[in-house]
């Protein structure tokens, strides 16, 4: 775990998990917002949220709502990260048949 995340995650009391793949809780996200994150990409790149096997299918809608509420914005105003292929993890050999 990186220095950046270590500092943010030093103390985790809140049990609500937002990103299961990368094990990120609501408290981690609130600390990232306190550290100055005001867009989805900032939270993503700081905590690695949405970068695991599910590719953000669960956590991106959640983080958009959390950020919109905390920043007093409309969820539509927040840019969501690009969806990247192959959308679900696929075994490499599938591409060579």
């Amino acid at each position: 775990m990186g220095g950046e995340m270590k500092k943010i995650r030093m103390c985790r009391e809140h049990p609500a998990i937002v990103c299961r793949c990368e094990d990120i809780t609501l408290e981690d996200i609130e600390k990232a917002i306190e550290a100055g994150c005001n867009n989805v990409q900032c939270v993503k790149t700081m905590l690695r949220l949405s970068m695991g096997p599910c590719q953000g299918r669960t956590c991106i809608p959640l983080i958009v709502r959390i950020l919109a509420r905390r920043l007093g914005k409309n969820p539509e105003e927040l840019h969501v990260p690009s969806s990247r292929p192959p959308l679900v993890p696929l075994q490499a050999e599938l591409f060579c048949r």
Binding site: G2, G36, N39, T45, R48, P85, L90, A92, E93
Partner: protein, 374 residues
């Protein structure tokens, strides 16, 4: 003012803030910090190039990387680079290695057994020998970007995201730059560093400067996480492809596909089969790994594959840091150093950087780099 919140702009701000009042520095970024090439890059840092300019600058960059990783506290791993070569490449790489050694980069040609010790699962029939660069390293661009941003803000440097500069503005004599126009209004500035990656060419055009910067689409993928299998970044020189296991365990794979400069970087259906075929020949486990994500980005290429640095003749107050041709992340610290020196002292502080000014293209003083990978 610095236009561009990628690795070059951030390190320029860092070195400027060491010397001048940080509160006088403003960095603007058209999207979020790192959103251009920086966060899409392959994480490698090396000095094994084929020109004096690149080797000397990159070696200095590596020294800064080490120093700053201790000072600011970010991850850096000295995994080295291994260039996997065929018989016909050996003569050229023996020469490159001598050039590296002359400038203090201890590369050497190694045999298959040496490679197999570093990379136990590799298929030794696939290459004749290799060039080993033990100085090369891997960083974590995400952590570097956030660490630098937080540090800069703490010193008083102003960072404004989602602010797109659309043109530079000259004074009435059309000699000095005096402001920039952005999507959030005009901002006055005395000195402007343009480190805007793919956007650099158009910004320079707005003040009548023509820079030969052409974005070349590139393709890259990452697999799911696996336990660490090897430390170095591996290059298959025959296919111009690389593989490296990231900090978190995913294998990052880049492979060259024929593309046109100035074409749009879009996902191509042929990329994943191409990349998988290459590395399945080297590793019998590769067909079994799960591919997680495939993305594209640009190398902003110059005709001689070296960056464009320094002030611009005829337009006072404008400095360029762009056209890295795929090496912007690794050059980041030294880019920041030479650019800050140019702005403050009028001299880059490293002689070789002077050979990389824009004027080299009109004067015909090109310096060709041959070792561009991916």
């Amino acid at each position: 003012m610095i236009v561009g919140g990628g690795i070059s702009g951030l390190f320029t701000a860092y070195f400027l803030a060491n010397r001048v009042d940080p509160e006088k520095i403003l960095l603007v970024e058209r999207s979020y910090i790192g959103s251009g090439s920086t966060l899409r890059c392959a994480t490698g840092i090396r000095a094994s190039f084929t020109t004096e300019e690149h080797i000397v600058l990159m070696k200095r960059s590596i020294e800064y990387w080490l120093e700053l990783s201790r000072e600011l506290g970010f991850y850096l791993r000295r995994g080295g680079y291994v260039w996997l070569l065929q018989e016909e490449h050996l003569d050229a790489f023996k020469e490159y290695s001598q050039l590296h050694n002359r400038f203090g980069v201890p590369t050497r040609i190694v045999d298959r057994e040496f490679v197999a010790e570093l990379v136990p699962s590799i298929n030794q029939d696939m290459f004749a020998a290799a060039l080993h660069d033990p100085l090369a390293m891997q960083a974590d661009p995400f952590e570097v970007i956030h660490t630098l941003t937080r540090f800069l803000k703490s010193t008083g440097v102003k960072i404004q995201e989602f602010t797109e500069v659309t043109k530079l503005v000259l004074d009435h004599e059309r000699k000095n730059v005096e402001a920039v126009v952005t999507n959030k209004g005009e901002i006055p500035a005395e000195n402007i560093v343009v480190a805007a990656g793919t956007g650099t060419k158009n910004l320079l055009k707005s003040v009548g400067v023509d820079a030969p910067l052409e974005p070349l689409p590139k393709h890259i993928l990452i697999t799911m996480r696996y336990r660490r299998l090897f430390d170095p970044l591996l290059i298959d020189w025959a296919s111009n492809s690389y593989i490296v296991q990231s900090r978190y365990g995913g294998f990052i794979v880049g492979a060259e596909l024929a593309e046109n400069t100035s074409g749009e970087a879009i996902n191509r259906i042929d990329y994943m089969p191409h990349a998988v075929r290459i590395w399945s020949k080297f590793f019998k486990w590769f067909p079994k790994v799960y591919i997680l994500r495939y993305w594209t980005g640009y190398y902003v290429m110059t005709p001689d594959h070296h960056p464009v640095y320094g002030p611009v003749e005829g337009v006072d107050g404008v400095y360029i840091a762009a056209g890295f041709s795929g090496h912007g992340f690794m050059l980041g610290p030294v880019t920041g150093y030479v650019t800050s020196r140019w702005v403050i002292d009028g001299d880059p502080g490293i002689a070789q950087a002077k050979n990389l000014m824009l004027a080299r293209f009109t004067m015909g003083r090109l310096i060709r780099e041959k070792a561009v990978i991916g």
